[in-house]
Symmetry: C2
Subunit: 221 residues, 2 copies
Amino acid sequence: MASATALRNNCRKIICIGRNYADHIKELNSARPKQPFFFLKPPSSILPPNSGPVLRPRGVNLHYEVELGLVMGKTIRDFDAADEKGAIDAIESYIIAIDLTARNVQEEAKKKGLPWSIAKGFDTFCPISNIIPRSAIPDPHNAKIWLNVNNESRQNDSTELMLFRIPRQLQDISRVMTLEKGDIVLTGTPKGVGTVVEGDVMTCGLSVGGKEIDEARFEVK
Amino acid sequence: MASATALRNNCRKIICIGRNYADHIKELNSARPKQPFFFLKPPSSILPPNSGPVLRPRGVNLHYEVELGLVMGKTIRDFDAADEKGAIDAIESYIIAIDLTARNVQEEAKKKGLPWSIAKGFDTFCPISNIIPRSAIPDPHNAKIWLNVNNESRQNDSTELMLFRIPRQLQDISRVMTLEKGDIVLTGTPKGVGTVVEGDVMTCGLSVGGKEIDEARFEVK
Ligand SMILES: [Mg+2]
Ligand SMILES: [Mg+2]
Ligand SMILES: [Mg+2]
């Protein structure tokens, strides 16, 4: 199993599912998608644990979004969502990730019909935990992901609330772009997103059946 | 100098500048940007020469956009646009690329404020030429790029028409995301974009001072 730093150095794309938890769609006043949609973050945005702070660009309303991340273990193309076992087999391991977003930049882009790549793609905008072995999460649709800011709970929901489950995500992504070993899929964020500012400390983690599996800590500079 | 296939296998991000030629902005009825904006295509979309046809997804209005591509030779961050020599030094080599676009998917995304990643990111949506050594293009702002469909000229303009020149592009990108060795920057397309359908053959090329430097050919399936 590779380290988070090896993942940072070898990952070739990060695909993020948008609007995949109903309550998060409500809190951003967004439309509920009829099918999964997704966007890219660059590998240069990955911040492994213990490798420095999150850098907030000047003038940016920086929003956290905690997400379950899949690290792909094989090449898949035109995947069939009915193949639930195949979906799990295609995953090498998991991570907890924060899909950091320059919310004001994103809102402006949405209004103008412009791409999201800048709003989502700054350096350090994808903090990740250590690698979580696949065996530690028997069912990726039955885990709790959570995020605290300065020890206050902000996000804490089960992955069972995903609107589009993982096999469907892999189907829809791989009909557009081939997924390759080392690619990361971020599966969407539950409700509770919000702003962090300089000096804030984000802690995020994942638990299964009440048992804490992994946790990571990031300071905002 | 790496081959186009090695580039395909090692590239970690493709950053594309949007709306960088005035006449192309007019033909799409777009607003002229006050600063360069950009988006990502995934490395999985790269199609080296002689490696198969461009695959048009069903129901897609497939548009070609010929562009000068920069292959980065070093890591740059917070680059200063005033450093024109530094910009050229940071480029390892050039390619001619076609920024293929699912135009109907993109128009829909623009209307809904959604990301462009799907419209721009299908497999084979980034055909590239062989690698062009830096020495073959003494001034990247003084080259002709052209694209023919079935031997009819569709695009043919000088890179001197770029609204934002390369040092400025590298500045604006690298203030957001670190550019790394092997990353590709597509510098925007001149006027003349349009649709291709099954069976069409796209030829694209680059010339300097009337001398043909390289050429590539792609069939649409
Ligand atoms: Mg997200
Ligand atoms: Mg985008
Ligand atoms: Mg383009």
